[in-house]
Symmetry: D2
Subunit: 434 residues, 4 copies
């Protein structure tokens, strides 16, 4: 037992009227919603990197957090793991997620990185024996080290491609070993700083090839989880190839990988790409590639990825509505890829940020479930398209031609009357639930 969270009790569900800061007001893991426990719906995961590895730096300022485990040494990495699992327990978190670089000290070369990773993976494995917290996904950090400054899979230097590929192998091995339920790729440097030194076609081929090897290796080692790509349009790159869900889909189709890969959608990244979060989820669902979410918001007035904990129930409800409509999570879950603010320097801030977010998500999901069970919204939506059930309408989707339709427009004098989209009425309806 470290003393990092020493005065902080494990959080329990106490109901909406609790006066206790260190309690859940809305997240009761055992509450059954639509036939499933809330915990099994939400599948919360803590992100190791922001919570335990990020020092509070930003582009204009240095470290603000004072953590006893900062530094590059195995013992410090173990201390970090100890504190992490203490937090998981305090939060009763069912899952966590990590990059290799979050959990192990940085080595001088690939071999040392691998050794370090293996030591820590073993250590985590031991901790997981006595913890209820599981691994939602693992991933490789192929963007922070200077070797990746021009990309990993898409680097002009094949040695970087090789280094990255080898690193992913070790991370997939680690994920498998720890029982991870997914493996994620986020290509923060897979893009460009300037088009003028970049060969788009070549880099796309490299990226597809890299991904194919990941898929092959997954099957080879019998990893049953999903391979997930996390879209983001830019930052750190000026342009990132995995721009948004639709772009990733096009990439997967181009290389025939659309049945092997799904997406991990982050609210903040959706915003940066000009979309609402629910849009990205609904798009992925309609394309058959919905996988998991990073439930962290961006500030709407900031043009960079602020990675804040969610705090707006009506927004979160719309996201879970799309997820529930799509059948809910299978291997995916709700990861908080979220940073406490760099001024939130106390251990308690770390706990309260997660607790608040978990409550927000619970409220959102319960509202979404209520809307779905009520059924009115879906009924209204179906009703809007009901005209397509008519035989002549259906025929247009199968064997009609521009000519046959033109004939029908003329012969029947088709001259459509607009019908209200009823947006405000539907918004009112939703506001009964959130």
């Amino acid at each position: 037992m470290t003393d990092f969270f020493k005065d902080i009790p494990a959080l329990r569900y106490e109901g909406a009227d609790s006066a206790n800061d260190f309690a859940f007001r809305h997240y009761n893991p055992d509450e059954v919603v639509m036939g499933k426990r809330l915990e099994d719906h939400l599948r919360f995961a803590v992100a190791y990197w922001h919570s335990f590895a990020w020092p509070g730096t930003d582009p204009f300022g240095g470290q603000t957090f004072d953590r006893p485990w900062f530094g590059d040494a195995i013992d410090l990495a173990k201390l970090k793991a100890d504190v992490a699992f203490e937090m998981f327990e305090i939060l009763n978190a069912p899952y966590f997620c990590f990059h290799d670089a979050d959990i192990r000290p940085e080595g001088a070369d690939f071999a040392e990185n691998t050794r370090n990773l293996e030591i820590i993976v073993d250590y985590l494995g031991e901790k997981m024996q006595v913890s209820r917290t599981k691994l939602l996904w693992g991933t490789a950090n192929l963007f922070s080290h200077r070797r990746y400054m021009a990309g990993a899979a898409t680097n002009p230097d094949p040695d970087v491609f090789a280094f990255g590929a080898a690193t992913v192998k070790t991370c997939m091995d680690a994920t498998l070993k720890l029982g991870g339920e997914n493996y994620v790729l986020w290509g923060g440097r897979e893009g460009y700083e300037t088009l003028i030194n970049t060969d788009l076609g070549r880099e796309a081929d490299q990226m597809a090839r890299f991904l194919s090897m990941v898929i092959d290796y997954k099957h080879k080692i019998g990893f049953k989880g999903a391979i997930l790509i996390e879209p983001k349009p830019q930052e750190p790159s000026k342009h990132q190839y995995d721009y948004d869900v639709a772009t990733v889909y096009g990439f997967l189709r181009r290389y025939g990988l659309e049945n092997e890969v799904k997406v991990n959608i982050e609210q903040g990244h959706a915003i940066l790409a000009g979309h609402s979060f629910e849009h990205e989820i609904a798009t992925a669902a309609s394309l058959g590639i919905f996988g998991s979410i990073d439930m962290n918001r961006n500030d709407y007035q900031s043009g960079w990825d602020t990675d804040q904990f969610p705090n707006n129930v009506p927004e979160v409800a719309l996201a879970y509505y799309e997820i529930l409509k799509a059948g809910g999570f299978t291997t995916g879950g709700t990861n908080f890829d979220a940073k406490i603010r760099r001024q939130s320097i106390e251990p308690a801030d770390l706990i309260l940020a997660h607790a608040g977010a978990m409550d927000i998500c619970a409220r959102g999901l319960k509202a979404a479930a209520a809307m779905l069970e009520d059924g009115t919204l879906e009924a209204k939506r179906r009703e809007r398209y009901a005209g397509w059930d008519a035989p002549a309408a259906k025929a247009m989707l199968t064997d009609a031609t521009l000519e046959s339709i033109t004939e029908r427009v003329l012969s029947e004098g088709i001259n459509p009357t607009p019908r209200s989209g009823r947006q405000e009425a539907l918004e009112n309806l939703i506001n009964r639930f959130v």
Copy 2:
């Protein structure tokens, strides 16, 4: 001869030092660049809608232009055509583009629309007999009339789908008849105002079906031009399905249409989608779907489509650089989907706006050609990827696996040294040409 442009002479190329406002300073159609006449490179087109149909309205204000042809009558439509062709002659414009709604009076129903269109198409055909101006592309306006307020192909009402399909047929017929070299679809209402009343999956299927019929009809009637989709992320819709080039590509792949359709890329729409113009062009080229451009800029501080004439040579040069690298236009061209500002109410403004834009484009293309002929930039780009020519590197793109690569990283102690991306040096290089 109308008297609309009565004091305005036909514009001639007079060289950079001309003091004449009504002259080209840089656009000499007969100048040969990279073995081709400038006119044949640039393939300028005037957009009928902004120049002759738009009354100067904006969301906060009414008509500012006072045009003798405004109003819904055949005679006025003919007067409009007369003035249009007078402008084409003044500008020595090789092409124009139109929507049905720009050239014909609005009818009460489909039959009347069709009759009106046919009359005006005949009239345009006669004018084209004695003009050198050809049709770059035709298109159907499926967004302005209230019947399309919830979409055309993606409308919840199948009657609107039918009306739109029949309308496209008439526009394809008109385009074929007038010798058009492309047919364009811009889906300004193919998207949604709110996700909560929308079925994404169904609407995508409708849109694909609609497009398939367009392709079938093209082949049926022997239209040899390209079918082009013009991406735009939003406005008027909150979300538009043809968001950007990558999204359109994904859509085409999904429905197996990627060999039948190309894109018409607009600078302003690229900006709205978070991309540079050259990015969209390079992306389309790398995906094999580059078709044509709308060379009109957006103001960088305005979050809507300002559709301004281009005025920045270095920016335009980068766009033409990507086009020339991709082999130049085939059926496509440089359309000015550009509005004079609503305060530019004099006939001369219309001429000067186009003349200035044509000069800017000529300067940009000539700079791009010089860069390409110089070859340094491309040599530097190739050099950056030269490591991939080594056998071990090539092998990674064909039969290596994560395991075989890992072995090689370990055995060879691969530990890549970063190399400069040389962005500023390359920017300096480009600035020698623009």
Copy 3:
């Protein structure tokens, strides 16, 4: 009695569980909150222009609404007024707002405009005799007519300045006559399309002079309401001089008008200027110029003014929190400068949009009041600055110098320890109330 809203009953408060679409769930005008009736807190106003004058056009599409009063004639203007007051009654709206151009037919010149306005003002006056709906504010539309395309007060043509000034006089007369509680100026064309034809200094002087005359006239006629400027950064102009609250404040100070003018803050305009709504309200309050609000949101993914009805309680709550902290409205109120979507073509849509918004605002205000009465948030805020109560700290704000402070830093070895900003904990706190 017109038959426009013929099947729609007057809305009553029925409580959160009502199943009736045409009811208030949260807005009970007589509910007492912090010692005041909700109606007197919120002071709701319907905007005449969007609800009754806007035809549903957007930059890419024409009229979608089919209103029997559309057209330029006195009788139609009276019919419009009849329907407007019927809606006010259905909604039990305590206030409305108008521009001259909303309520009267457009005339051929100033004299005719004035005559038309006077006729309709008389008509409205009669209706107000038998209605409980009052006038929150009047204003002049100095942006829609083509004469204003280059500005009103800031026009390069002094005749436009004169026409605008005379028009404002008539609108102030009308506002006084109808018992209006404020007079608003929104300078949609007071800005520029391009800096290259603009003289910023001259236009600022013109604008200040215009405003001074408005203030003088207010005093002359004994108008007791507030003069309000509504900031907006751009659209329709590329740049609008009344950019945001801070900019307006600087302008007022520059010309010594800061005690005579307040601001009317719109959520959508705050967003366009890069601010949160609550930021603009808090800024205005801290500068002593807070007046009134336009409670209509912008879509966060659209770069133009979407003017939607509010639908997010947590956001609205933060706005009312700042308002209540500042003492609540005096002459100001909650105006809905909001458009139903152009697809919302049924009369019921108009009613439901307002009803939903009123409920959202009521929920927001009640949550804000509860937070304020609870007092924890304000206590935490004060506590954060408590160090400034110490004498040495206070002295720094009065008579210390850089030198005296430096001496103290050295002699006392001042080396401050950072303290947590507790942002997430405070966000959790707020989420107990919304």
Copy 4:
């Protein structure tokens, strides 16, 4: 002589056709433009921080630059200074700028910081004895150290205010000692992360008080340079109080400081605030507070401060046009607050980035001067407002009232005819020069 730039020669002006990368093509310091040497117009300054202190980190990646002077020690700081002055000589840079934190090692407390600063200031002073490079401005870094995470002047903790004030004193002393021509304040942390823990009014008072002490101290020590505030809207803060030029002006007026302080305007910050660079310059000039510029661009598709070297002549020309119109720089100059990209890891990249930027600025300024000397643009601008020279128009700006104007509108039947703004024609005109 260090060997950092060992193979790089001093750059000379060689004319536009030079094939030498390490030469100026357009910047000839001795070229006389509008009666002044180019060097004296442009007054270029190198920014110490980005060029010598920034390690190439970004929010997602660590150090990429490998500089022998990195580390916290006096000797390393001296080595850094040696290399800096070697670069100044290579570039023939007339000026440089620094923060205290750039040039000295970080100490454990204020006393040590001060001692370190004094040592390095002495060292710089010696170097400046034998260099032609002068100090354009000095400044204090009150944002990077964790003590400033919640602001310096606006910190809730008065000890941080004190520490910051004492630090500014030492930086003003250093600036005076080194003959600096201006003193700059950039308030990267003077703002807030969240409004909910912030007292806007109190923080504004603190900031004004801090600034007043700076002004008093300036006069006390006989510093003759200008005090400059550098506006920026956000980043690192969610909201920064010195949002833009107009906001700073309002702040200065509020506290009566408008005659004592000017602004240092950065292109990238203008963009982030929703303005063009030339807008901010013209605004400052019209308000009488124009001081200096940071000539570094933001990428238009990135929502954060990319601080890139300028590379677009037409844009730069518009900025210098406003500067020349305002009389040119007095104490101010052209500082490159610009980062080479983090992939530009070679010493040559640092030189080439500056050289290219200096050429771009020289081209821009020469184009601007030519436009101004040509006089057509200014003549057109004046002509547009010529109507205001008439007596009746002038009278409206002095003693008219709404009533007297209304009478005149009626009696003279004033009904203004719109006149073209001629935007495109003027854009064409400008394009003759750039």
